[in-house]
Amino acid sequence: MSSIGDQIRAQLPYNRRGAASLALLIFAMVLTLSAFAEVGLARDGRLPLGLPLYGGGLAVLAFAAYFVQAKFAPYADPVLLPLAVALNGIGLAMIYRLDLDTSRGKQAALSSGKAFEDAADAPGQLMWTFVGIALFVAAVLIMRDTNRSDAPLSFTPKTAQRYTYLIGLGAIILLLLPVVPGVGREINGAKVWIAIGGFSVQPGEFAKLLLVVFFAGYLVNKRQAMSLIGKKIGPISLPRARDLGPIMVIWIFCLGVLFIQKDLGTALLYFGLFVSMLYIATQRVSWVMIGIGLLAVGIFVATLLPFMGHVNQRISIWQHPEPYFDGGCMMASGKVEPVNPNTAIFKKNQIILEQKAKQYESQGNAARAKNTRAIAPGWYACTNELKGKYADSAQLMHGLFALGQGGVLGTGLGQGKPWIIPLSFSDFIFDSLGEELGLTGLMVLLLIYALIVQRGMKTAVAARDPFLKLFAGGVSFVLALQVFVIVGGVTKLIPLTGLTTPFLSQGGSSLMANWILIAILVRMSHDARKPAPQAIQDEGMTQIVSTR
């Protein structure tokens, strides 16, 4: 009885699919260039000035990546690269389109001396695309000697297995960096950034990949023990503490860091990754059950902890976003009181704050007056007068309104008003695309993601080495889960948590990490799909020497 992997391998063509890959890549480029052209034609009635730079730049990068793949990983899955290029290109076109409409506000803010970080930045995104694809090329080149993991300058996925614990440590350090004073930066309330040079980097994006390696390396060693040895209580078999211990420690550590960083989306992502890889390694449904139980306990505890009140509120916003629009206040009773600028309580507290500011001014305390004026009256009314917890659902609601505006066919690129959504170029880029490309466009995007994930899973099944199987399965699933958490959040399927939308969101860290992810899958699919090594000693038929 052969396994599914054997069956798939038996049917693999072991062909180089270079022509198919090239054709798909050309299609992806046509798609991207058309998107750019449409932005210009719809907005200004002429081809955009940025078309040669952005479209041309992306085309050069994509074909460079293709030639490296064709030369050094010829048996690789032919659709992975074109799909990633298509996503990256559509995202870049959207950011370019948003940049055109937000740049005026940005310039006004800069000229008046204010910081204006929240803006679409197309040149920056093009640069990060360049860096991302360069990393893809580098990764494919470095990982080329799969069979000789000791070859100089080679670091194949298989090599990583040797450094399991070191990589685990690396993941923890990356996760911790943003909370280290002096290194970390807080943007939009989430402490997930570090400042390197003039750039903000999200180390969590890279920690994600390192954690997959760590889980894979650890589980591949322990899986036999974990799935076979252990006490059985009823239908559930419990693992030995020493098998479970280290992995629980790192898991609790991750969650702890993430709760402190207030980045629930990432916590959910790592948790799902952990449970799914545990399941792949041990085939034990009981593990999944234990995991879901832990998650339920975690969420329950989080809702009870006073400083974790925003978990409750996130759920409350998800259920009823309307009262939170432009500011809502959750009272101890669970009732939500709107404190938006139209309410009497807002106006009242606005006056109170202004009076206080004037009072400080008359006392000659200009700095304090300025600080008082900077306080949002809605927040002030909520925390002081109502003694509740303040939140604002305007982002989510504006995102949903954008989706509604788009409808089935969308307004067309360049013809909607996606910039109304706060963070329209990062967290909410999916809603921005939904407005202009419509339901039709979003279905295409989701299908592209689903295809990448399924191709990754196929690579995992086709891989021969257990570590590589877990590795490929892990990175594929983490991609699926990330898309689910962020897209589910911005479409109100699940409570909204901040995560980047792979390849679409503006941001260098996310692009770089995801291009490395594609490089890993490309390399592994090449290894899985290439013909098995031929026996060298072909000695022909045994000669029969006549004895006569």
């Binding site: 085939q283 629009f325 954008a402 509604g404 089935v408 589910g488």
Partner: protein, 494 residues
């Protein structure tokens, strides 16, 4: 141990996640899209509206409201109102936000309505914007003009007046005029910020003059003696009396204060006893105060509710006329408590004073009931909507609003209203061929009277019901009556 099986299961789970997302996106962008687009919190509703021409609003074949290209990028289209002062009580204004018919039919005028987009799905497919539909009002433009001109001439300086005329068989509104009015051209999209400020200024006006609130259906006045139609109807519907019954018209001492309820005159029919018809024609207050006292405030309230008092209705989608009231209890601002209308108050309520308030439209509906066997048809403003290709998208349907009283009671009341003009307080109006009830309501210290004439025309075989109110000195018969006569002359010309 092989990992292929769990990997495949995780892959299927991953696919299920994507199916979940696809289902949600379909739900949001497919079935929820319309309600998201019209969500009151959605500011996008107003951002697109200046980029396309809106449909026209016409009446009697005249174009009253239309869009025109401004030649600028924002707004791309402006809107002009012909004789805005005359028609704004019906058309309302449009400046992104809207009121009255402009608001009620916003989606049809703007071309975003499903009835248009479904029909023109191919246009959306090729990116052509659907065009707004044109509306036809039920209005009689000549009569509307007469009404506004006469209101302007007859209303005291700084005071208000309103006229409502409806077709008794369909409920179609023929005239809905208000003075003072405002010109929607001043706040139309092309006026930009100036218009926005002007609208805020209009909205912020305090005192009795609130131009944005029309005096024909959105403002209430004490109906005074014209409310005796309702009091009579309730009493006669009870079956105890009819128009020929002898009733006391002499002095009435109010039970609580021991003060007399005054009559305007104590001669003629109001001298002691008369038939109900006679008392009605000469508008003897004491008779109707007594009738109200006998039936009590609860019955008066319940009876008036049958005419449309104490409740709201939508004359067009999202457009509600102000609620007319015969309150059983009222809010006392001094003690901040609700106080039940007492016996004195009940007597005064019976003659349309105390806290009784009515819109001209409501009083026209009362008159319509008397002229139409007790039946009131639901008033409406828009006759039909046509797409740009002239296909009909909407057509008004006559609907029964209420059976306010028995047909027999209505016939007797109609006869009593004719008597007002032939032998009572409205004798001076005989030349106009209309029947009705006069009313001169006091509005408290420092305020002029609310002068009413409520009735129907023609006198025999009535077709239209009307109500006119103006504020000023003198009486309803002398002031409001001639306005009603001239307006109805215009209405009947058609």
């Amino acid at each position: 141990m092989n990992m292929d099986k769990p990997i495949r299961r995780v892959a299927i789970f991953g696919l299920l996640l994507f199916f979940g997302l696809m289902a949600q996106v379909n739900y949001v962008q497919g079935s929820e899209a319309e309600s998201l687009r019209t969500d009151p919190l959605n500011t996008r509703r107003f951002s697109e509206v200046f980029n396309n021409p809106r449909g026209q609003i016409t009446a009697d074949g005249q174009v009253l409201v239309k869009s025109f290209p401004t030649g600028k990028s924002n707004p791309k289209y402006g809107r002009t109102y012909k004789d805005g002062l005359l028609y704004s009580p019906i058309t309302g204004y449009f400046n992104g936000g809207a009121s009255k018919v402009e608001m009620a039919y916003n989606s049809l005028l703007g071309g975003t309505d499903k009835r248009i987009t479904h029909q023109r799905w191919f246009d959306t497919f090729i990116g052509k914007k659907p065009e707004g539909a044109d509306l036809e009002l039920t209005l009689n433009t000549a009569a509307q003009e007469t009404a506004y001109r006469r209101l302007k001439a007859q209303t005291s300086q700084g005071r208000r007046g309103g006229v409502a005329v409806i077709d008794i068989r369909t409920g179609a509104v023929q005239v809905l005029a208000s003075f003072p009015s405002f010109d929607p051209n001043e706040v139309a999209p092309q006026t930009g910020l100036t218009g926005g400020k002007r609208l805020e200024a209009l909205d912020a006006q305090t005192g009795v003059i609130k131009p944005l609130i029309d005096n024909a259906m959105s403002q209430t006045f004490p109906p005074g003696s014209s409310f005796k139609i309702v009091t009579s109807a309730i009493a006669m519907d009870g079956g105890a009396i009819n128009s020929q019954s002898q009733v006391s018209t002499g002095q009435l001492v109010l039970p609580e204060s021991n003060k007399a309820l005054p009559n305007s005159h104590d001669t003629g029919q109001c001298g002691g006893t008369a038939t109900l018809r006679g008392a009605f024609a000469e508008s003897c207050n004491t008779t109707f105060g007594k009738l109200a006292l006998e039936m009590g405030i609860d019955k008066l309230n319940a009876g008036a509710t049958k005419f449309g008092f104490n409740r709201k209705f939508e004359i067009e989608p999202d457009v509600q006329p102000a609620e007319s009231d015969v309150p059983v209890e009222y809010f006392d601002p001094a003690t901040k408590k609700k106080i039940r209308t007492g016996r004195d108050g009940t007597a005064r309520s019976g003659i349309g004073q105390e806290n009784v308030r009515a819109t001209p439209l409501q009083m026209a509906m009362v008159a319509a009931a008397t002229a139409n066997k007790g039946k009131i048809m639901k008033p409406y403003l828009v006759e039909r909507a046509r797409a740009k290709d002239q296909s009909e998208l909407y057509r008004a349907r006559a609907q029964e609003y209420a059976q306010a009283m028995k047909a027999d009671t209505a016939d007797q009341l109609a006869d009593m209203m004719r008597a007002v003009v032939t032998e009572g307080t409205g004798k001076s109006l005989a030349q106009y061929g209309i029947a009705g009830k006069t009313g001169t309501a006091e509005q408290g210290e420092g305020n002029p009277n609310a002068r009413w004439f409520v009735g129907f025309a023609p006198m025999e075989k009535p077709r239209y019901a009307f109500a006119v109110v103006t504020e000023g000195p003198e009486s309803g018969g002398a002031n409001a009556g001639p306005i009603a006569g001239e307006v109805m002359r215009q209405v009947l010309k058609k």
